[in-house]
């Protein structure tokens, strides 16, 4: 067996491992097995790559060591609340890797005496570079916003879409020109520069609430650029693995868009924040606030409670206190469930990870479609740091910017408790009618502190009986 065929066998095995990895990830019971088979596939593929004939290893080793030094600490010591940031950062790494490899390939093939790329390979290379660089800067911007190094509000200006589209059109035009005439190497830096710039400009108008969609989209781009690299390098393993990542990102983006009743173009070019700010004049309406003691006395006699967590829970790091609340209610014989809206938090599945971190059993975490029919039989809903996903205006008010967005039907429950810092509207700047309903109790305070008080009051009441 020659080296080339052995290498090809390793790549085939690796591709099979990756597909199995994703298949096993579908259920929590087999998910960890999926990670293991994925690791095995990756190890085999790396081994296969390392036995390529006629290589020197010095710089490969340097790269591997540096990569491990950067990647391992990020993964081992990073607190779970920072998962969205880390994900954005890793998308930017993925984009960067694809883009610079594409850049190097372009110049290698442009050298005098080198075999030029076919038109098709050139198309793939341009796509790889374009997607790679825009994913790199776009994801860095997303990272900045999530880490709050940059303001997470959407930054919009007049003519923004026109500017972005023009830049993108120029980049595509340069790409087409390079396919037709790859010897015009002087145009290549312009293509790279425009892609980098476009990535930044694309994310500037995106607000925090749209992050789940954007992260998914960038995930898809990172995968597609890896796949394009496979076309350039004639490597089917890269094509397969990149396509798997690309389709995964695509599915997640579609789910996120559906969960907000918005289209891709609307997320990317819509500017969610502006509309809402225009209608910012709010009149004073009466609402009912309550103390932890009052709230606890109602929770005590409830038999079914649904907790609705949102980004506010993540910000306040309240998940461990929420777990204490869950424990104390469960011990008292109350049936406690968690209602998870698909876009709650800053990335797909964000709430599930946080609640799992706090040791809340995952069979208590219920998706929107499954929990919605149950709200009518629910005694108390406790909303912790969620807002727009519970706003009945999404169903009733045609003028609302969130009209048509599927929401959690919390208003059907007998009592609604909202733990919130103040009456100020949520991210989208939209007033929530839920807060003014007769059955609603506003519990003002920090999510973590107030949940802690609830737990204390429940314990005190129990001791008193």
């Amino acid at each position: 067996m020659s080296i080339v065929t052995f290498q090809q066998y390793t790549y085939i095995i690796a591709a099979g491992c990756f597909i199995l990895a994703l298949k096993w990830l579908s259920r929590p019971s087999t998910a960890r097995r999926g990670v293991t088979i994925g690791e095995i596939g990756m190890a085999i593929a790396i081994l296969g790559a390392l036995i390529t004939k006629g290589m020197t290893y010095n710089w490969i080793i340097v790269g591997l060591v540096l990569g491990a030094i950067i990647g391992l600490p990020l993964a081992i010591f990073m607190p779970m609340k920072d998962v969205p940031q880390r994900t954005a950062l890793s998308h930017s790494f993925g984009g960067l890797a694809a883009a610079v490899v594409g850049t190097a390939e372009f110049y290698l093939h442009a050298r005098a005496g080198a075999t030029p790329l076919t038109h098709f390979e050139m198309v793939a290379l341009i796509l790889e570079v374009l997607l790679g660089y825009l994913t790199f800067t776009g994801s860095l911007m997303a990272f900045g916003k999530l880490q709050e190094l940059l303001p997470s509000r959407p930054m919009v200006y007049k003519g923004q879409n026109a500017v972005n589209l023009t830049l993108f059109a120029i980049a595509v035009a340069i790409g087409v020109y390079l396919v037709a005439d790859p010897t015009k190497t002087v145009l290549f830096p312009a293509l790279a520069g425009l892609s980098l710039l476009f990535g930044v400009l694309l994310i500037i108008p995106i607000g925090g609430a749209d992050m789940p969609t954007v992260i998914s989209l960038l995930n898809s781009y990172a995968g597609l650029s890896a796949s394009a690299m496979g076309f350039v390098l004639n490597n089917p393993l890269l094509i397969v693995a990149g396509a798997l990542d690309g389709s995964s990102g695509l599915i997640l983006s579609i789910i996120m868009c559906k969960a907000m009743n918005r289209s891709f173009t609307n997320v990317l070019f819509g500017g969610f924040g502006q509309v809402a700010q225009a209608g910012g004049a709010t009149e004073q309406r009466p609402y009912r606030s309550a103390s932890a003691e009052e709230a606890a006395s109602i929770l005590e006699v409830a038999s079914r409670v649904v907790v609705v967590p949102g980004y506010g829970m993540a910000v306040a790091q309240a998940q461990h206190k929420v777990r204490e609340l869950y424990d104390s209610l469960t011990k008292a014989g109350v049936d406690v469930k968690f209602a998870i809206h698909p876009v709650a938090g800053r990335m797909p599945g964000h709430m599930n990870v946080l609640l799992a971190e706090a040791d809340i059993p995952y069979d208590r975490l219920i998706e929107m479609d499954e929990i919605n029919p149950e709200f009518a039989q629910t005694d108390v809903v406790v909303i912790i740091g969620a807002n727009d996903v519970t706003n009945p205006a999404a169903k009733t008010d045609k003028t609302s910017p969130i009209y048509g967005m599927p929401i959690l039907d919390v208003d059907k429950a007998s009592t609604v408790m909202v733990i919130k810092r103040s009456m100020s509207p949520g991210f989208a700047g939209i007033d929530n009618d839920l807060y003014y309903m007769d059955k609603t109790m506003m519990l003002f305070g920090d999510a973590k502190a107030f949940t802690g008080e609830l737990v204390k009051e429940l314990a005190a009441a129990k001791a008193g009986v």
Partner: protein, 107 residues
């Protein structure tokens, strides 16, 4: 060459459809680990980076960019798998001991 091209496009198409089918079945519960796992898998660009750096060792540009690419993608490989496993380890079903005798009596 044109033969290869057809095969590659076919591979891409089939892998995309397979990906869509497999990933549609992933429980929303696990969407965050899904993203970090696919991220680790797409760090397969490491293979391309290794080939580039190793075989063009005489070319400064290729070695420089290749080493950057190896660093970035290997960081995703190790980081992605480790963080996915860390997350999945946290997902637990209700322990029988906690929910056993008495506590569920009311439900």
């Amino acid at each position: 060459m044109s033969n290869n091209l057809t095969i590659y496009i076919l591979i891409f198409m089939l892998a995309t459809f397979l990906g869509l089918e497999v990933i549609k079945r992933v429980s929303p519960l696990l969407h965050t680990p899904l993203m970090s796992l696919t991220n680790a898998i797409s760090a397969i660009s490491l293979i391309g980076s290794i080939e580039l750096t190793g075989t063009h060792y005489h070319d400064h540009l290729a070695v420089t960019l290749g080493t950057i690419a190896i660093t970035a993608s290997f960081a995703n490989v190790v980081g992605g798998f480790v963080i996915t496993d860390r997350m999945l380890k946290m997902f637990k079903k209700r322990e029988p001991a906690k929910t056993g005798a008495g506590t569920r009596g009311a439900a």
